[in-house]
Amino acid sequence: MATQHSRSAARLMMTPAVVLLLGWMLVPLILTLYFSFKKYLPLRGDSLERGLDWVGFENYVRFISSSSFWPSVQTTLIIVGGVLLITVVLGIFLALLLDQPFWGQGVVRILVIAPFFVMPTVSALVWKNMFMDPINGILAHLWRFFGAEPISWLSDASLQSLILIVSWQWLPFATLILLTAVQSLDSEQLEAAEMDGASPVARFGFIVLPHLSRAITIVILIQTIFLLSIFAEIFVTTGGAFGTRTLTYLIFQRVIDSQNIGLGSAGGVYAIILANIVAIFLMRIVGKNLDR
């Protein structure tokens, strides 16, 4: 189905989507790049009308050398790593469990998936107040019930708490994708392995896990991209305090709170580069899939 006519029609019909996305990508990207080389502090009287001073790579250097940069990178890595570890490991476990026959499979599936549909601001607020509040939260009740001193979760164990909240939101995603992958495993393979004398553990290690490896990679890559930019969860819980300032949040603060556009833009460029490194790996996998 490739006549000249249909090909030109196709090009025409692709144009709106391509042009829109191209604009959406290029315009802000160019502006961010532009600002990142400028001194731009609107509160101190800098404005676009009067022209901005060119400062070269100063913003880039300052962003990296500021005392909050490395801690924010560390925080980002801990949160992303922690959530990935929890969601992938529990996700595999849950996927295998939900794949077994039991009564009420459909209902349990729905229960497990539900957190994914809760908007980030709601889940953050519910966890912050009704679970992690050191006086009235459910966890405080539970601690007191066992005679322990309640923990001020979001100030004393802020990172762990945040990881818990975000993991709760993303566990359904990991479970769902891994479950789909588990279900696509040919049962004859497992039966063959069983006939060959493989124990359940060996079957998991030699058959199930390799089969899941692609799905696991995809879960890791997609989650990483989303997790690198989590925002609302921090915004409504700690506001970046107590060591929960991620790279995303740091940039947000530079731009919105301290109105240092140049510095924030330089940070933005770093974030874009970081996201692109992850994205390249994801695109390779997705791209390979397209060829099949």
């Binding site: 189905m1 490739a2 006549t3 000249q4 006519h5």
Partner: protein, 334 residues
Amino acid sequence: MGQITLNQITKSFGDVQVIPPLDLRIEDGEFVVFVGPSGCGKSTLLRLIAGLEDVSSGKITIDGKEATEVPPAKRGLAMVFQSYALYPHMSVRKNIAFPLRMAGLDKAAQKEKVEAAAKVLNLTDYLDRRPGQLSGGQRQRVAIGRAIVREPAAFLFDEPLSNLDAALRVNMRLEISELHQTLKTTMIYVTHDQVEAMTMADKIVVLQAGVIEQVGSPLELYHTPRNKFVAGFIGSPKMNFFMGSFAAEFGAATIGVRPEHLTVSQDGGKWAGKVGVSEHLGSDTFLYVDMDGVDEPITVRSSGEVGFRHGDTVHLTPDPDKIHRFDNQGLRMA
């Protein structure tokens, strides 16, 4: 009317030329079969005629009118696809009516034509079903019905029977031939199955790598294949080929003998060999005979039952009038 001429047409995909310059004339009312191994360009050729692909160069005329640049729907042709390409969300009635609806025919005329077509194809009871509820043969008939109502100048069939099981395939083959007798419309039929080609065609076009190897009636191709390729492709079981000293004896580079033109005897024949597998079909027996100096086992077709066993030594004698001689280019020698 349905007279189609292809004049020096070529087709390239990128740098790859799949159809080198090709000429072909299809007469009105003819049943033409394009046959060849997969990848020989027969489907591409059909799609060029349909207008689903642009020709890279050359000219297509339909009934004397230049049609090279005419969009598919305006060429007055109807096509039956390999997958039938029925619209799954429409009833049989709506499927058949679709081309009429697109042509802007009024409802009453649509109904009349659809029902007439349904009657011809025994689909009257199924008009309100969806394609998903039909058997393979019924779907095939719906696809044909959709083609018939357009009263096209020619029908194009793209391997229409390849998704059916063997028994149904024979039935549908007869139905399509019957339809051709009734309608007397030009039909162009693509298949890789030489049996379909032999049984249905008025004229067979044998293609290999985009090149027409031979055009002719089924029996012309059977009796006087123009080259080794056609000789090997047409006829079942396949023609046996002998080279070297076997062929030199007849003054050729290769000779070919069809399995049905070999006689097998216990002793006193031209060539000796050992019986390998024998296949008993009741009406015929196929013997596969291994001969020294010939790579592949020689197939022999004997009518009735033949009592040779695996390992028996037998003698083969070709019918001297039915030996095909080919030169070292593989072309038929007079």
